[in-house]
Symmetry: C2
Subunit: 521 residues, 2 copies
C-alpha cells in the first residue's frame, strides 16, 4: 500500500487526498510574553487558524483543559478538530495520535462497520451483526409501528445505537485499542433507520406526503447517542433525498462513481428495500422499488438470510434433475439465501421444471435439498406460492427500472454500467439474474458488483472532504420519481411477471441459452 | 414608556433598536405536499432563514420535538434563536412568549442582576447579593489561592453560579415566572471572576506575563454552569482586554458612551479593584489602578461595605468639631463605607483636624461616632494608620490617572467628562473626592456618576446587537498600559500622598475652599 496519505480510489474516483472528517493538527504556539499576553484560547486558536484556516469554536470542556496542557507541553499541542463544523473536539499532548473513525452501514437487517485509521486512511477491520431492532420486527413498517408504542422509539433508538456500539467495541478491541479511540463516525442508512438511530419519530415517513424529520441531520456528539465512542466524536448520518431514498443509496452512488461519468448508468441496491438510481454526470433520478425481502429470503417458506448453512448457489441437471448446491460455510443446508433463491428459480426455469408463468409442469413443489441432508431434517423446497411471491418482487423491480428508463427516454441497452449494491451484490450470479429477468439482458461486462456500496460510501465520506462535497452535490442533483403514482407501472409490472418476461425479445441471450439447453437435453 | 421596541438610550448612545441576544421568531411554514416533501428540519429552517437570514443549527434535542409540534400547530411555530451563534435554542407553539434575559455584574464582592423582558427590552426587576465566594476570601488574590487547592476551583465556580442562580430565581419569581423563563444571560465581570464562573484555572492571571485563559470566551449553555435557567440559554461572559481589564470595564465603557465621543474622557471604576480607561472615538487606553478595597472599607479598621448602618455621609463643624452623619437605612452606625470614608478624610482635612500630610495636629485618633450611638457599643474612629493606608490608595489612584494622561500628552483639564463607575459612584460626594485629591479639580458638571456601569453595559449587550458589536469594537481598540512598570509612577505616587496633593496649584478650588473655611471659623 502507498505510504502517502492517498486513499484507495473507490470506483473511477481518481485518487482522493486524505481529509478525514476529524483530524489531528500539531500546533506550535507563539510563546507568551509581557508584550504578547493574548489569552490561552486566542493564542491556541490563532495557531490553529494558521495551520487550518477557519472560524473555530472551542467548547468549555476543552477550554478548561487547555491552559494546563499548554503549560505542561511548553506551548505545543495537538488539536483534534471537526473541520466541517469548525469545532475543536479535544486538545492533546503532542506526539503520535490514535485517531480512528467508524464507517457504518445501518441496514434494516444487518449493521456493517469498518474501523479506519484516520491518520492514514487504512482500514483496520470490518465486522457486521444483525441490527438489534430485528427483535421488534423484520421490516420498516413493523419498526415504524413499534416506534409508535409508548417507549418504542427510545427502544429502537437504543437498539440501533447498541448494534453500532457493539461493533465499534469489537473492532476497536481487535485493533488493540478502545472505542474511545474512535473520534468520528459516518452512518449510512435508509431514512427510517437514520431517524430511529437519532430518536426521531418516523411516523410521517409512511403517511402521505411521506416526510422525513430531516433531509440533512447535523452531526451529533457520540455521547448524545450513548455509542461509547470518544464522547465529542461527531456522528454524521448521511443525508437523504426523502423518505424512500436514504443516505445509504446516496453513499452507494458516491462509491459507484456514476455521478462523475459522462454515460448513463444504473445503480440498483438490492437490500431489504430496493432502490435504484439512474443517470450520470449530467443528471440523476432515483426511485424506490420496494423490492426487497425476497432477496434476503423473506418471501419464500425456506428463505433465510445469508448466514452459515444458507444455500448460496445451486445448479439443476436438465437431464437428471439432480441438484448440486453449495452452502455458506460448507455447513448442512438450512434454507435459501437471496443468491441461492435466484439460482433456484433460474435453474427450475432453464431445466423446464417450471414454465414461463412460474407454474410447475408437473407436481406442486420441487425438493431442492432432501430432508436427510439438511440441518433440521426438513427438506428445502419451493412451491408455486413461493414462485408467485418471488415473481411479484422480481416484476416490481424490473418495472421500476423500465419505468425509470422510459421516463428519461432510454432503453436498458443504453446503460453503460449496472452497478449492483446490497448484501447479495457480490454473491449473486448475474447471468442467472438475467435468466429470470431480474436484471436486463446486457453483456456481462456491464454489470459491476459493488458489494456493500453503502458502507464503502460511508468510508469515503469519513476520509475524504471531496467525497463529502460530492455527496452534498449528489443530494442536490437527485430528483425523485414516484413510480407507484405512474400510470404505466401496473402494465410493466404485469408484463414482468413472466420468466424472463412476456416479451422474450428483450432477453435474446436467455432465449439462446434456453435453446442450447433444450438442444443438449 | 414608549411602546416601540426602542431601548432607553444609555448615555449618548442614541436610540438602539431592540435586537436581543435571544429572540423569538414566529414562523408560518410552507404546507407539505407530494410535490414539496422537504424534511421537517429543512422546511423549518427555510422559513426561519426567510424571517432571519443566517446559517442555522438545530440541536438534536430540538429536532426531536420539531415534527410533533409542527403537526400539532398546523405548521406554525415560534423559534427561539441565538442569532450571534446561529443556534436554534427551542421550538414552541405560536402565541405570546415569555422570553426573559438576565444581565449580571459579577463583582468580586457583590453580584448585581437585572431581569429584562427581551420581547420589549423593559427591566422587570433588579437585585443584588454578596458573591458567595466571599466565604473563601475578600479579594482576588485570596480567591486565586483558594482555586489552587484540591477542589477549590470547582468550589468557587459553584459559588459564583449559585450567587447568580439565586438572584435569577428571586427576580423571576418576583416577576411572576420561573428561572426557566430566562433564555439568555450576559455576565460582566473582571477577568478573574469570569474565569472562576466558567471553571477556568486563574493561576496564570497573577503570574507574569499575566495571561487569562480566554480573552473572549464563547457563550456556554446555562445547563453547563448549572444556573437553573432555561437549559440551552446562552450565558455570555463579556470579553476582556487581559488579566487586569475585564469585561466589567469594557461594559462600563460601553454604557458611558465615551467610545463614541470626539472629546477625550476618563472612565474610573472604583470597585474592589480600580480600573481606568482614557480616550474617546479615536483611541482608548486602559490601566489597572489596583486601588480598590479602600473604597469598600477594606483598609481602615472601622471600614465596611455599603450596607445598613454604614455611615455614608458626614460633615464636621470646623468650629465645634461636632460630627453630623447619615447612615444607610437610618440604622445605628456600624462603620464607614467608601463614601463616608471619603467624607471623613475630607472633613478632617478641611476642618484642620489633620494636616496636609494626613497627620493629626493633636492626639492620635478622631472619634467620628461615639460608642453610645453605634450598633455594637464601640466608637467609630480613624487613626493615623487608617489615614496612611487610605492616602496610599488615593495616591495610587491619582498617580494612575496622572500617568495615563501623561502618556497620551494630556492634562486633567483636557477631560470632557470623568465617568464614575462602581459601587460608590452614585453615593460619593464628588466635591469631597476632589477635596482630598482623589478626583482631579474640574468643574462639577464634568463628573458623571454612572452607578453600576458594568451591569448597565451587560444589559445593553443583552438587548442590543449594536451594543454587542460596539463591545467587540471597544475590545479591539483598547490598548493596555502597564503602569507599575512605568518609571514615573513612584514619583507621581509620592507627590499624591498629600491632601489634596504636594502641588496645591493643581487643586485651586480646594485652596479656595480651605481659605473660605478658615476665614469662617
Amino acid at each position: 500500500m502507498s505510504e502517502d496519505p492517498i486513499l484507495s480510489e473507490g470506483r473511477s474516483a481518481g485518487a482522493l487526498p486524505l481529509e478525514p472528517l476529524v483530524c489531528a493538527v500539531t500546533l506550535e504556539l507563539d510563546r507568551p510574553s509581557l508584550s504578547d499576553n493574548r489569552g490561552d484560547r486566542e493564542r491556541f486558536l490563532d495557531a490553529l487558524d494558521r495551520a487550518l484556516p477557519g472560524r473555530w469554536r472551542l467548547p468549555l470542556a476543552v477550554l478548561r483543559r487547555l491552559g494546563g496542557l499548554l503549560r505542561a507541553q511548553d506551548w505545543r499541542a495537538v488539536a483534534l478538530v471537526h473541520r466541517d463544523s469548525g469545532l475543536v473536539l479535544d486538545v492533546r499532548p503532542p506526539g503520535p495520535q490514535r485517531v480512528w473513525g467508524l464507517a457504518v452501514d445501518l441496514g434494516t437487517t444487518t449493521v456493517a462497520a469498518q474501523l479506519v485509521d484516520l491518520t492514514d486512511g487504512k482500514v483496520l477491520g470490518r465486522a457486521s451483526s444483525l441490527n438489534e431492532q430485528i427483535a421488534r420486527g423484520d421490516d420498516l413498517l413493523t419498526r415504524i409501528a413499534w416506534a409508535d408504542r409508548e417507549g418504542g422509539l427510545e427502544d429502537l433508538s437504543r437498539r440501533a445505537a447498541c448494534s453500532i456500539g457493539n461493533l465499534a467495541n469489537r473492532l476497536a478491541t481487535t485493533a488493540g485499542g478502545t472505542p474511545a479511540d474512535i473520534c468520528a463516525a459516518v452512518v449510512a442508512g435508509n431514512t427510517v433507520m437514520t431517524q430511529l438511530l437519532l430518536g426521531l419519530d418516523p411516523a410521517a415517513i409512511s403517511r402521505e406526503p411521506y416526510l422525513p424529520a430531516a433531509n440533512a441531520p447535523e452531526p451529533v456528539a457520540a455521547a448524545e447517542l450513548r455509542l461509547g465512542l470518544f464522547p465529542r466524536a461527531p456522528v454524521w448520518c448521511l443525508p437523504n433525498v426523502g423518505s424512500f431514498v436514504g443516505g445509504d443509496v446516496l453513499a452507494g452512488v458516491l462509491s459507484s462513481g456514476m455521478h462523475r461519468e459522462e454515460a448513463v448508468s444504473l445503480f440498483v441496491d438490492v437490500g431489504t428495500n430496493g432502490e435504484l438510481v439512474l443517470g450520470g454526470a449530467d443528471w440523476l433520478v432515483a426511485a424506490a422499488g420496494a423490492a426487497g425481502p425476497a432477496f434476503e429470503g423473506g418471501v419464500v417458506k425456506h428463505g433465510m438470510r445469508a448466514a452459515p448453512g444458507a444455500v448460496e448457489h445451486l445448479t439443476i441437471d436438465p437431464a437428471t434433475r439432480r441438484v448440486s448446491y453449495r452452502t455458506l460455510g460448507g455447513e448442512p443446508a438450512r434454507g435459501l439465501c437471496g443468491s441461492g433463491l435466484i439460482d433456484a428459480v433460474a435453474e427450475l426455469f432453464l431445466s423446464g421444471v417450471v414454465d414461463r408463468t412460474g407454474r410447475f409442469r408437473e407436481g406442486e413443489e420441487f425438493v431442492l435439498v432432501n430432508a436427510d441432508q439438511t440441518a433440521d431434517g426438513r427438506a428445502i423446497t419451493l412451491d408455486e406460492t413461493d414462485l408467485r411471491n418471488f415473481l411479484r418482487t422480481k416484476a416490481g423491480m424490473h418495472a421500476a427500472v423500465e419505468l425509470a428508463l422510459a421516463r428519461v427516454g432510454l432503453a436498458a441497452a443504453d446503460l453503460a454500467h449496472v452497478y449492483l449494491a446490497g448484501a447479495i451484490a457480490n454473491y449473486v450470479d448475474v447471468a442467472q439474474a438475467v435468466n429470470i429477468g431480474l436484471l436486463p439482458d446486457l453483456p456481462p461486462g456491464r454489470f459491476v458488483p459493488l458489494g456493500n456500496a453503502s458502507l464503502e460510501g460511508a468510508r469515503l465520506a469519513l476520509v475524504s472532504r471531496r467525497a463529502r462535497r460530492e455527496l452534498a452535490d449528489i443530494r442536490g442533483r437527485v430528483s425523485y420519481l414516484e413510480l407507484n403514482a405512474e400510470a404505466g407501472f401496473m402494465e410493466l409490472f404485469s408484463a414482468a411477471l413472466f420468466l424472463p418476461h412476456t416479451d422474450e425479445g428483450r432477453f435474446p441471450s436467455v432465449r439462446e441459452r434456453l435453446a442450447a439447453r433444450r438442444g443438449a437435453s
